[in-house]
Symmetry: C2
Subunit: 523 residues, 2 copies
């Protein structure tokens, strides 16, 4: 199948200052210096203590296409009229063939300060990736985390569908949201383009417009289904029960049931949920039942969802009993402005909802619409580098380094630890000291029962490892959640997970810090 | 220039339910019924009382490309195995040649409930546009509004630059943010791809990595500039003034000044802003001055921006006086987590910042990341339709209708008014009653001095009006702001603008409401 791809994944989707730096590096003959950059975040989103990584496939697409085309070089020349022509020849020549890129696989639970991406290669080229790489994984990781939190709040037995396309931040915001909500644990999307490109299950019913389109039975051009007049039969139930429902709505439901006799899911709040929508649905469901088809259910899109779902279920039971039909499996779908808090509150109140369609709050990550992943130089010309800041939290951890997850004998993760690449790696059964990066008194010994490298080498001048499929990433997250203590992933006052450095790395960082910033003198 | 376009602007970027409805319409032979849809929002974003429209060019691109390709039809066939083959032949045949689309031009100040877009055409095709059309204008309008608010908070004399690419919600989120921030009143962007495609001015300096890359003068491969050793000369000033600044930072600034002798803008907070960054900048600026070049300024990226800007300016003045150089025009750029509130607070405190680089809070619209524009059927088969709801606010205003802005004799807008297309239009000097749509006691008489149609016909089977350029839209907004009372656009407790209906439309809406929903009976 021919599918559209995201043409905006271009190396030129970057901040001007990557380019101005690139020229200054080149001008000072530093562009080919070997460099190491780390991407990490400092604070978990959504007031939580974890995040879930996403974005590997987009990063790989960027690396594959990392080449300025002629139009782009022309534009850069226009922006930098003072630069030498040799610089533009250099720019036109670069690609990602000299880069090595380690990335955390999608669906991995990740924590602050751990280098989720490590890029090694010529300084100027590795620097040029910064912004593009961040835009590709910041939102993907954020939406995966958000979806995972919604899934946790809803419980594993509910069907969750992403319904947010119309409210997303642009077309790619919509596509990314659909894709990574699925990785985060959603079951389906209403976004057809995402369904086609990413092979995600799609679901959908009708909107209010469909109901509003019918004024009454006169607007039905087809009423006959399997030799019965479906409208008349539905209307018969309406009259028998003295229901004063909206005629147009009944006609709309009949026409929709004829189009989808086995998937008849009705939006019931166009006029009034309990006095019109649900009774009309039931009349049509009873009529369908006469000819051997089972209705699918209803969708609630306004009002008090807990109350309306409970009352709707009561009506289903009442009519099922009266007419001896089986309405036990009727689905109740809810979809009005649902967020994590609403899901938790519904669980506390009690409700009869089987499935949630979640839009705005999910896809725009309303509770926190950005993840602050950053990309920092940690080593250049084989010399570790540190960035100090007036804000302690903004200090970077120097050195080319590896990250490991250490597990206890119960299979639960104890901590993540970063070590210099040149240091010996943590070993199973061997005691190792783990130090907090910014608090000298926080340290502990760990004897790991399992040691796992957090990053994987995806790119070594070319793709060297298969990008996992969406469902593999989805399964990875489900497995990972079992290995992280539940007090770390809970909503209220979660416990921070331990992120640490080896003693060697910690000591080296402190040494570099003292070296770079002399003690200030006040007079 | 060959530029990438957004390949995700496809009619398939839609909710499944548009398609399920499309089939149900077709199945019931209603697909070609003439229909009218309105797009509008119910509540202004950011706790304000206005919004600014954006998205016309994307909507036009959608309409031009509104055709399912073979792969898309195949995918739909796979999703709907029960549908008749004739339906897919129909689907493959449709395009936007039978649609008429009125849209508010970009940069127009808009208010709740006014139909910002009106789509007329065959029911099924007009319905299919819903989701795609909304995703294209919801975020574009939101970001334009957000930018306009930032501009208002900063004042007209500050340079505002959009710096948010890395934190945006996907690549298209970034591109849309750069484009529509400019329409909303920003001066530039750091996003190069947006600069190239939309011809927006770009600016950028260097990042921390550039500074961190240099350990000291040994890392300078070029120190000579216009026959002087720029490092030695800068270092001379450092020694003269007994400054204990970071060596690597000084070397980095020297190398950057050699690359950009007339645009030397230094990021000064890598080690310590006031004890290292700013003094190092001044030493290099003094050295540059010796060979006839003026430094451009500094960028502050952490700490107390008001305080640091004031102290930096003092240092500029102190050294300018000591060495008799002109540092009056040095720019101070600030760029750390700035939002509307920070801008207002800085104004109150007093500061010396000339330019702001604004990222996350602008591009993700952190204060409210989604605008809730909706798309509703208001007339079908020449019969006006209404959608009632348990929530009064969700009731739609029926009828094919036009919207006008009525101005007073002072050139200031009095109200917006919607009337049925068949009604006589409001006229200059002629008294007209304006009624609140949902409050029967709120009504007034208006004698307009100027009457302006709010929507313009952009599409009549094809594009029939030029899409204004970005700078035309930007100018339009500036002009529009002068015609709206300032208490409506102010931040604190803004006054709601009056949005009204003609008596004819109001009465008809009330009649339809009573007709559709019988009074409920409780026992």
């Amino acid at each position: 199948m021919e599918v559209p791809r995201n043409q905006y994944i271009r190396p030129l989707l970057t901040d001007m200052y990557q380019l101005t730096m690139c020229y200054a590096y080149w001008k000072n003959n530093h562009h080919n210096d070997p460099a190491v950059f780390d991407a990490f975040f400092r604070k978990c989103p959504f007031k939580g203590e974890y995040a879930v990584f996403g974005g590997v496939s987009e990063i790989v697409e960027l690396l594959k296409n990392f080449k300025f085309n002629e139009a782009e070089v022309d534009y850069i020349r226009f922006l930098m009229p003072h630069a030498e022509e040799e610089f533009f020849i250099y720019l036109a020549s670069i690609d990602a063939s000299q880069l090595k890129v380690w990335i955390v696989p999608d669906g991995t639970i990740v924590f602050p300060r751990i280098n989720l991406i490590r890029v090694e290669g010529p300084l100027a080229i590795a620097q040029l990736c910064e912004t593009t790489l961040l835009v590709l994984c910041n939102f993907a990781s954020l939406i995966t985390t958000n979806a995972a939190r919604f899934r946790k709040a809803a419980g594993s037995d509910k069907h969750l569908s992403e319904f947010g396309t119309r409210r997303a931040q642009g077309t790619d915001g919509a596509m990314t949201a659909s894709k990574y909500s699925y990785v985060g644990g959603f079951d389906s999307t209403s976004n057809l383009l995402a369904g086609m490109i990413h092979k995600i299950p799609t679901i959908g019913t009708h909107a209010h417009a469909y109901v509003v389109c019918y004024s009454g039975p006169k607007d039905l051009s087809t009423r006959i289904f399997k030799d019965i007049d479906l409208y008349d039969h539905a209307d018969k139930y309406r009259k028998e029960n003295n229901l004063k429902t909206n005629d147009g709505e009944l006609a709309a439901f009949v026409s929709y049931a004829i189009a989808y006799p086995d998937k008849f899911l009705a939006l019931v709040d166009t006029y009034d949920t309990l006095s019109s929508g649900v009774p009309n649905f039931i009349c049509v469901a009873l009529a369908l039942n006469e000819v051997g088809h089972k209705a699918y259910g209803i969708r609630l899109d306004s009002g008090d969802l807990a109350y309306l779902s409970i009352e709707s279920r009561k009506l289903f039971r009442q009519y099922a009993a009266k007419y001896s039909v089986d309405f036990d499996k009727l689905m109740i779908v809810a979809s009005n402005d649902i967020n994590e808090g609403v899901l938790r509150s519904l669980n506390i109140q009690g409700h009869e909802i089987n499935a949630f369609g979640i839009g705005t709050n999910l896809v725009t990550c309303q509770a926190q619409p950005a993840l602050g992943m950053v990309y920092k130089l940690v080593e250049v010309r084989n010399t570790p580098r540190i960035k100090i800041s007036n804000e302690k939290d903004k200090i970077t951890i120097p050195c080319q380094k590896k990250a490991f997850r250490l597990y206890g004998s119960d299979g639960i993760a104890i901590c993540d630890i970063m070590s210099r690449s040149s240091d010996p790696e943590p070993e199973i059964g061997k005691k190792i000291m783990a130090r907090s990066p910014l608090d000298e008194k926080k340290r502990m010994f760990v004897v790991p029962s399992k040691v796992e490298a957090i990053n994987e080498l995806f790119w070594d001048g070319q793709l060297v490892r298969d990008v996992p499929s969406l469902s593999e990433s989805r399964d990875r997250l489900i497995a990972q959640l079992k290995s992280i203590r539940s007090d770390i992933t809970r909503e209220t006052n979660p416990t921070p997970y331990k992120v640490s450095l080896t003693s060697g790395l910690y000591d080296y960082m402190m040494y570099l810090w003292d070296m770079e910033v002399p003690i200030r003198e006040f007079q």
